[in-house]
């Protein structure tokens, strides 16, 4: 095995969405800097948007929405636990990002007057902007990387952040999953854009990679941030999404909403007021799924042919184009019948919920010189446009940091030797356990013990099982650089599983609907838990959780807005009697 030592100024880890934006903006900020982008796959087709994206979920466009309104919406959707400064920073720069993407050649839907055709999907405001030609997204980004001359190296699995003797980010370590070379990068600032923890839960199909998220995103950024000593925030606010059953891709009922489509129960009736994703919506989805009115369906069969064709074009040619092929094989046609939906396995993802590596409104983590953006960074409900916007912040700030705060401090070479030893250990084990088997067992336990509704005793058992698997991992073997990548991902998934269990045990209340539905503490408890819960590595290397106060609001909430997302369920009234349970009851009476 060879070792490659590389020097750069700004190191960007991850070339999906936030990463390319960060690299381009760092280079534009200071063209003299060397900017190196490392990608586990290939930047041409990597990350959550490898095939494109069908629309913007959170466009804050003047004339349609205001940053204040959006900040309120996300505050309410996230049950009040947000750093509003971070959400507001996104909201005020959202339109600038759209304009930049527009300049770069991304096509957004516009109306006959040339104005952006934004649609209302959220409970309160109007932020959804379709991108009928969103399949070009990665090409557009690649062109920009070439234009500003970012150095790109593909097929590098980054495993640890390198720290200098002052505990400041000084590069990263990893390996090439084709050649098996050990890679050490010395950098002056480091940006992590490694995506969601998409391989935490196990899809029912039995395919390890048949996940909701791009399975390349195993949670690498979460594990690296933890081992570097950074704070992670609100990890117990899991990602769980509605999807097309078995296909395991986003159902996107909210994309069909403006066209008249909706999520229905087995009677073909609407049961939630708003298809925008939130924990509260997912709780109602779950209640319906397991109650007598399940399963849950995507209902489009009442719509006109032209409308359905348009929906098909949007949903089958952008984000997950194999969807049309799946429906064809199942003989499920939107025109003829409702399409069965289900819920995804659990994961971490701030892009959809709020579980991420903590960052402030400058995309800074708690480690100096270390930045994070995109699905792995803690800005809630940030989606693709938030990844671009925070990638922009991270790139500019990481470049600026080099000119101002950066100091050349020696590094302890011991961490490099230790990491070399750790990475290549599975290549030295003979007749060991294949990584795929350990991964399957680990993720099955994640499903068995961590999937909400969360039960204390089950989560305690999870910690015992995970500890046993940690021992098994010493007997894991890899027979090629490719399998070594899978072996190192097992370590990442183990770290994320432990963090998911510990973070969930720490917050002793229920919040965010299904995302943190704790059976032993069924009520929301604002008196004790209206706080962020952070998790980090202590001096002994153990995981510790602690409370952090919610930052003062920039945009105050009106009394009647506070519980807007608590009124998800459609309450039907017949004379003299309520047919449906009240929302409060529905949220706690789950089995």
């Amino acid at each position: 095995m060879n070792t490659q030592e590389i020097e750069t100024d700004v190191l960007v880890i991850g070339g999906g969405t936030a990463g390319p934006m960060a690299a381009v903006k760092a280079k534009e900020k200071n063209p003299k800097l060397r900017v190196l982008l490392l990608e586990k796959a290939n930047v041409k087709r990597s990350g959550a948007i490898s095939m494109g994206m069908d629309g913007l979920n959170n466009a804050v466009i003047p004339g349609h929405a205001t940053p204040e309104q959006y900040t309120k919406e996300i505050t309410v959707a996230n049950d009040g636990i947000v750093n509003q400064a971070a959400v507001y920073a996104y909201a005020t720069n959202s339109y600038k990002t759209i304009q930049e993407l527009n300049n770069w050649g991304v096509k957004f839907e516009k109306d006959e007057t040339g104005d952006y055709a934004v649609r209302k999907v959220h409970h309160m405001g109007t932020y959804v902007l379709p991108m009928p030609e969103g399949h070009n997204m990665k090409k557009v980004l690649y062109r920009q990387l070439r234009r500003v001359r970012v150095d790109v190296t593909n097929r590098i699995v980054v495993t640890r952040i390198l720290l200098n003797e002052h505990g400041v980010a000084a590069g990263a370590m990893g390996f090439d999953c084709r050649s098996g070379d050990f890679i050490v990068i010395r950098a002056k600032s480091v940006i992590m854009a490694c995506g969601a923890a998409g391989r935490l839960g196990l899809p029912a199909s039995g395919y390890l990679m048949g996940t909701y998220e791009n399975p390349t995103n195993a949670g690498d950024g979460y594990a690296m941030a933890f081992h570097a000593g950074a704070d992670l925030a609100n990890l117990e606010c899991f990602q769980i999404n509605p999807l097309i059953k078995d296909y395991n891709g986003p159902a996107c009922a909210y994309v069909t909403g403006p066209f008249g489509g909706f999520t229905a129960n087995n009677k073909g009736e609407r049961f939630i007021e708003c298809d925008y994703w939130s924990g509260q919506m997912m709780q109602e989805f779950y209640n319906e799924l397991l109650g007598g009115n399940g399963p849950v369906f995507l209902k489009l069969d009442h719509l006109a042919e032209e409308t359905i064709s348009e929906i098909e074009t949007i949903l089958h040619t952008n984000e997950r184009p194999s969807r049309g092929r799946f429906h064809e094989g199942r003989n499920t046609n939107y025109r003829e019948k409702m399409i069965e939906m289900h819920i995804s396995e659990i994961g971490f993802c701030s892009g959809h919920s709020a579980s991420g590596v903590w960052v402030n409104e400058r995309a800074e983590t708690t480690i100096p010189g270390l930045y994070a953006a995109g699905d792995m960074a803690s800005v809630p409900h940030n989606y693709m446009l938030g990844a671009f916007t925070y990638g922009w912040f991270a790139g500019e700030n990481a470049a600026e940091y080099i000119g101002s705060t950066y100091q050349d401090v020696p590094i302890d070479r011991g961490q490099i030797e230790a990491e070399r030893e750790r990475i290549f250990a599975p290549t030295k084990v003979e007749d060991g356990i294949p990584p795929a088997q350990i991964e399957y067992k680990l993720r099955r336990f994640v499903n068995d013990y961590l999937q909400p509704p969360k039960v204390t005793r089950k989560m305690e058992l999870a910690l015992e099982r995970f500890a046993e698997i940690k021992e098994d991992m010493k007997r894991m073997s890899a027979d090629s650089p490719h399998e070594l990548m899978r072996a190192m991902e097992v370590h990442v998934i183990y770290d994320c599983a432990m963090m998911a269990a510990k973070a969930s045990l720490f917050r002793k209340e229920s919040r965010w609907g299904l995302y943190h539905n704790r059976v032993d503490y069924p009520k929301r408890d604002d008196a004790n838990w209206f706080v962020h819960c952070h998790l980090k590595k202590d001096d002994n290397g153990d995981m510790v959780s602690f409370k952090k106060p919610v930052e003062p609001y920039i945009v105050p909430l009106d009394e009647d807005e506070k519980d807007a997302y608590q009124r998800m369920r459609i309450v039907k009234q017949t004379p003299g009697k309520h047919e449906e349970k009240s929302v409060e009851q529905a949220a706690v009476t789950t089995d």
């Binding site: 796959a41 290939n42 041409k44 087709r45 990597s46 990350g47 490898s50 095939m51 593909n154 097929r155 999953c177 084709r178 899809p203 199909s205 039995g206 395919y207 390890l208 990679m209 048949g210 996940t211 791009n214 399975p215 390349t216 078995d246 296909y247 395991n248 997950r320 184009p321 194999s322 092929r325 799946f326 094989g329 199942r330 007749d431 060991g432 356990i433 294949p434 007997r475 490719h482 990548m485 899978r486």
Partner: protein, 77 residues
């Protein structure tokens, strides 16, 4: 622990009459997010080496000769 290999059907198929890997083309191998495709060095044709597919389709969309087809993996089709 002793190891056994078990047979499995995989979702990516390559029409070898159309595949131009022998001319140096590696597009499908390059674009796969999971790095599961490879070139058979004897036949000089692309094939799916690992059963780790996300059925995302860059290999099919980006193939310059239309040689690659992604089917929905059997267990979830």
């Amino acid at each position: 622990m002793p190891i056994a290999i078990h047979r499995t059907s995989v979702p990516v198929s390559v029409d070898e009459s159309k595949c131009i890997a022998e001319k140096g083309c590696t597009v499908c191998v390059d674009v796969c997010p999971l790095d599961v495709l490879a070139i058979d060095m004897i036949k000089k044709k692309a094939f799916m080496k690992f059963d780790e597919c996300w059925y995302c389709m860059p290999c099919e969309k980006d193939c310059p000769t239309g040689a690659v087809t992604v089917e929905i993996p059997y267990l979830l089709s």
